[in-house]
Amino acid sequence: MDASGKIEAAPTKSRTTVERKSDREIVVTRTFNAPARLVFEAWTKPELFQRWWVPKSIDMTLLSCEMDVRVGGGYRLEFGHGDSGSMAFFGRYLEVIPHSRLVWTNEESDDGAVTTVTFEERAGNTLLVLHELYPSKEALDAAGTGAADAMGETFGQLDELLASLDAHVGRSRL
């Protein structure tokens, strides 16, 4: 953590950076090797969007994906997870500026963020900035903890490994 209180995760090595801008805001950035119009297309065509939003490595299936990408238009994503049925995520688009900017709401809960994505083309590459504004600090904290849970199994195993390393180190000190 630096003097300004900002927290950054692996800003130097990784291509994806995340920064908590304030109590209620989080910003994710990544550069793509393609013009903005193509990156925008992948965010606004359901048949493309559903190919990357749920990566192959994630244990969930997208049952349906409807997107009416225009100001006031709605979207709805329905996921299936195991035997416990499905769940839906939905909201509407507040701003749609082709190849440049998308803003949408997340209305499945009262704690949903307003998400803004900007696409900025630089010499044929696209800098993508995703900004989420939550209604409260608690809502963002909860979303963050949720993301940690999403990574759950793998990190749980890593935590165990690190604990065993610590125990090993503890013994070797005796």
Binding site: M1, I7, E8, A9, A10, K13, S14, R15, T16, T17, V18, R20, I26, V28, R30, F32, N33, A34, P35, L38, V39, E41, A42, L48, R51, W52, V54, P55, K56, S57, I58, D59, M60, F79, H81, M87, E108, L128, L130, A143, G144, T145, G146, A147, A148, A150, M151, G152, E153, T154, F155, L158, D159, L161, L162, A163, L165, D166, H168, V169
Partner: protein, 121 residues
């Protein structure tokens, strides 16, 4: 919707598949160390050690900080502030997603090139 997803992060386990990297984690469990300290301890070149530390860092197992000309390494995750740890996990989720988006975008780019050539023919 991130809270309902489970990612299987092969990268983290790949990081642990190497004996030197496991040794580095054990070493950092005892005390923080610079990359040159680690290179010396494991009889490696600086460049070789930098690569190992990079793999561990990307997996979130090691955190590094550069002060002046010295990059200090310490154990990641467990020593990270709780909040920084969840941000790292949040980052990994988006990183996984964006790796897939890269593939989709690259496909669009190739398709556009082919279509462009067709139009010229």
């Amino acid at each position: 919707m991130v809270q309902y997803m489970r990612a299987h992060l092969d990268a983290s386990f790949a990081a642990l598949s190497d004996a030197t990297r496991r040794g580095v984690l054990e070493q950092l469990g005892r005390a923080d160390a610079s990359i040159s300290d680690l290179a010396e301890t494991f009889h490696m070149t600086l460049t070789g050690m930098k690569k190992h530390v990079g793999v561990l860092e990307r997996a979130g197992l090691v955190a590094t900080q550069k002060v002046g000309r010295v990059r200090t390494c310490r154990l990641g995750l467990r020593r990270l502030e709780k909040e920084a740890a969840w941000i790292e996990r949040y980052r990994q989720l988006w990183d996984t997603r964006f790796d897939e988006l890269d593939v989709v975008v690259e496909e669009l780019r190739r398709k556009e090139k082919v279509d462009g050539r067709k139009r010229q023919d």
